[in-house]
Amino acid sequence: MSERLRNLITVALIAVMAVALVVLVATNPSDPDRIQSIGSRIKCPVCQGESIANSPSTMARDMLDLVAERVAEGRTDQEIINELLGSFSGAVLLDPPASGSTLVLWLTPVAALIFGVGVILWWRRHPPQVTTAETDAGTRRLAPLMILAVAFGAIVVVAGFFLQDRGGPASGVAAIDTENLDDVSNETMEAVIAANADHPQVDGMRLALAERYFQEGKFRTAFPHFLAVADSTYASDSQVVTALVRLAGMAWEGNGEVDAALGLLDQALAVDDGSAPALYLKGQVLWCGSNAFDESAGLFQQILADPELPDESRQTVQNDLDAVNARTACT
């Protein structure tokens, strides 16, 4: 067989195989895992740089469940992502869009590629440099200027890094004072919490901040903070109960989710079976949400049985108990 013929056959073989391969791959009846792929694009709000697809935290799993639900409903990726970003404070897109402040991220690698190719082409055509005393003196004169320029830029960067937004309480764990937070702004508290997400004492501040959001009616912003406290290793029992009760309140009042609220309240009661706020809210939810008068009355009585209950609260609960016993619909 001549070399020419052999080449011809090889080329034909390669062409046929390549086409077959491309066809096989292109017609792959693939079923991409949309839940995982969407999940990998969202940062889990309570974790450290993990996506919700990778994080084992309760919050990430809840968010992933929501993604699964929405995928089943037939929503588009973008719709689902928008909903997650809107509903969970602290959830961030890990897949930066090629626009706005993240356009730089996509442009600079392309610019670097063009620059690199340009340098290589220039380098090849450029004739070997002839060193003369003149250019030498030129570089020498230039050098101090360069040092100054670079040093100046460096100082600006270093200063910016350590001074801006990182100053104040956010920079040190020791600055956390959970006792006296009245004068501290929401932004500062957010910054301190973000900088000390792992710190054992951060839960108190988190709870205070979440409570503020809650009182302002910003349920969506309050939600991840309450959830983080409820999930926290370091939070005290009473902190966990408070967070769970708030979460339940939001689930019920905000979303009308009776079952979810009851589930959260049962978790709270599992931690502290005598918690008056949890018992009271459970009574309210059972009464208003599912007209379960008897169960509701039982819970209210349980609260009243506590001799240490303040009179003011006693009166409110007593009123509700009377209303329940009279089978009145809740107001």
Binding site: L21, N28, S101
Partner: protein, 675 residues
């Protein structure tokens, strides 16, 4: 006592590093060589004493040291008590210093054989780096502070004065739980540091050569072995980190583009580029300026990596509490960059090399392309890692840059690199005629396409999987083809039997073939990643004792919950039996480890390793009172290829270093071969 011993060691080492700078500079200027030995000896012995004091304090539960009090517990078992020496900030700097001292010793040995100005200058540069790190130890990251006020657990207040009256806590909290969970954490940091710190040696030779104004291949040749050692350890360190994440972190992955992983990948990418372009300078005398830039960048990136991971700028398992070490490291980084590049620019006359490339279709051309890809790869990782930090520092805007961003850019770059890797070794130096390249590629292309078709027909038609197999076998095919071609030619010329000729070819040019072994390792890594990332299955179930679930051909039965307690931890888990087609395969026990009195456990997956891939079982929530447990099952097909490939790459690196090269003979051999 140990505080004094450790502090003394630390100060002796600091003094030694300072002396090394002074005497190195004097020797480099005057070409009179004396007294450098004693400085290096002080550096080495001081750091050995410091590390020794730290380890003894941990082994003997000496809680009078703040470091022991805050990072160790009586119940911490061996080897984790020793590993605690580098499990927190101060200790890890001691390890850093010790490894730097060991590398210094190797540079010194070489210098002693033939003392010259370049060697002295390099030692002085290493001394500067040593002064910085031991200076850190003596000031902002002192590992030998004495506890003067004990807390319930650990230490509340401390003093730097080694003879301060100690208030000794009864016990400490123990090291970070995640790091206690697997023996791998005991060796991953030293290995990685051997890689990081080793990059100081080529940097020192480069800066030494620049400072002396003596360019040429000398600095490159003399640092070549250190670069290979450091590169191999860095590769191994990254590999172990991935393996640890996979075995311990219970999400079934090994790489998440976490800033800390990125911090180790960046110097690796640039060092890999340097290893290749260094060959071009040694062979053709080109690219010296580029090589200097790469060496300076590699070293700077190791410092940047240390800053990112050790300053608390990024929250992760690797970052320790915030301290003044952040500004110090950032300042050192800036100093390195400004100093090096200023020196570089003032030496432009000696840096420039005159030869220019003859043709892009040549070995040099493929190296250039490989360098372009690797540096852009490193740039992508750099900007993706630092941009969110910079943006937040200056504008307060939070943006996330994670896996999807990196994958979008890194995956195409990786495949392009594989393609170039296939062409590089078979393309001769200077220029190549199309005919030779065609003869060397046609068979590998056919083999590669056949393997691709086979994969598509039998395994999966997933594009990434097929592409990785096809490109991978193209690379393997060109390597094998080249070996056979050279063996045949040798057999003809020397009248040897083919296997004998092949053996002589492979051993004759040891570094080249060791490099090809590394390439083969990279191919296996690529295929392993493609399979595991694209063909894995995942499910999550809640099981009660006695329940069984069918998953990917396995039948998995939940037998019972279990609990095991020992002094340092309590393990709570689920016991499951795995069967396949009715026959027993294994018992798996995913669990959660509760250290000390912790309320939250560290999930510990159980991984069933099988030839076709792993079955990965994680306990999401410990068994409830009724015994029901929430468990996830994952498969990672062919993931062992990733570990095998990584080890192969590392082996190639060490072999290249060890290869005694009969250079002239082999070069002549290979160059005539192409004519």
């Amino acid at each position: 006592m140990l505080a004094f011993l450790g502090s003394a060691g630390m100060l002796v080492a600091l003094l030694g590093a300072g002396l090394l700078v002074w005497r190195g500079v004097v020797a480099a200027r005057t070409d009179r060589h004396a007294n450098i030995d004693s400085a290096a000896r002080m550096l080495l012995s001081g750091s050995v004493v410091a590390m020794g004091a730290m380890v003894i304090a941990l082994l003997t539960d000496d809680f009078s040291l703040v470091y022991t009090a805050n990072h160790h517990a009586r119940a911490t078992p061996f080897p984790f008590d020793v590993a605690t020496a580098w499990a927190a900030l101060e200790g890890s700097i001691v390890l850093w210093g010790l490894i730097l001292a060991v590398y210094t010793w190797f540079v010194l040995r070489r210098y002693r054989r033939s003392p010259d100005r370049l060697g002295a200058a390099a030692l002085a540069v290493i001394g500067v780096v040593g002064v910085f790190f031991f200076g850190l130890m003596a000031t902002v990251a002192n590992p030998f502070e004495v506890c003067v006020q004990a807390a319930n657990v650990g230490c509340a207040d401390s003093s730097m004065w080694p003879f301060a009256a100690a208030d000794i806590p009864s016990d400490g909290p123990g090291p970070n739980r995640l790091l206690q969970n697997h023996f791998m954490m005991a060796i991953h940091p030293p290995i990685l540091y051997l890689g990081y710190v080793g990059m100081t040696v080529p940097f020192a030779y480069a800066i030494g050569a620049l400072a002396l104004g003596v360019a040429g291949p000398d600095w490159l040749r003399r640092s070549h072995r250190s670069t290979l050692v450091a590169w191999s350890f860095l590769t191994l360190g990254i590999l172990l980190g991935g393996w640890w994440a996979y075995e311990v972190l219970s999400w079934g992955g090994y790489w998440a583009w976490d800033p800390v992983e990125n911090a180790s990948l960046m110097p690796w990418l640039v060092a890999t580029a340097f290893l290749h372009s260094g060959i071009v300078q040694q062979r053709r005398g080109m690219l010296q300026a580029w090589n200097l830039i790469l060496v300076i960048s590699t070293f700077s990136l190791t410092i940047l990596g240390t800053f990112l991971t050790r300053s608390g700028t990024i929250n992760s398992v690797h970052s320790f509490t915030q301290s003044a070490i952040g500004p110090a490291l950032l300042g050192f980084l800036v100093l390195t960059l400004v100093g090096s590049f200023t020196l570089f620019s003032t030496r432009a006359d000696v840096v420039a090399t005159s030869p220019r490339i003859d043709s892009f279709v040549s070995r040099e051309g493929t190296f250039l392309f490989n360098n372009l890809l690797l540096t852009i790869y490193a740039f992508v990782v750099l900007i993706g890692t630092t941009y969110p930090l910079i943006l937040e520092a200056f504008t307060g805007t939070q943006v996330g840059v994670g896996e999807p961003f990196f994958n979008r850019l890194a995956v195409p770059l990786s495949f392009l690199l594989l393609l170039v890797m296939g062409f590089g070794p078979i393309t001769p130096w200077r220029s190549t005629d199309a005919g030779l390249l065609w003869r060397r590629t046609r068979t590998p292309v056919v083999v590669a396409l056949a393997m691709g078709l086979l994969t598509a027909g039998l395994v999966s038609r997933n594009g990434w999987v097929v592409l990785s197999v096809t490109l991978g076998f193209f690379v393997l095919g060109t390597i094998a083809g080249l070996a056979v071609e050279q063996a045949r030619r040798r057999a003809d010329k020397m009248s040897e039997a083919l296997p004998e000729a092949l053996r002589k070819v492979l051993t004759g040019d040891g570094t080249f073939w060791a490099g090809q072994l590394s390439h083969a390792g990279v191919v296996l890594v690529a295929i392993g990643i493609a399979f595991a990332a694209n063909l894995g299955a995942h499910t999550e179930v809640v099981l009660s004792p006695g329940d069984a679930v069918d998953f990917e051909g396995f039948t998995i039965t939940y037998e019972s919950p279990f609990q095991v307690s020992n002094p340092s931890k309590t393990t709570v888990g689920a016991r499951l039996t795995v069967t396949r087609e009715g026959s027993f395969v294994a018992l798996v026990e995913p669990a959660a480890n509760f250290f000390g009195g912790d309320e939250t456990g560290i999930p510990t997956p159980d991984v069933l390793h099988r030839p076709g891939g792993d079955l990965y079982v994680t306990l999401i929530a410990p068994p409830t009172a009724t015994g029901s447990a929430r468990i996830t099952f994952d498969t990672s097909p062919m993931i062992w290829l990733l570990w095998l490939g990584g080890l192969t790459t590392v082996t190639g690196g060490f072999l290249a270093m060890a290869a005694r090269r009969r250079e002239r003979e082999v070069v002549a051999d290979r160059q005539t071969a192409h004519v």
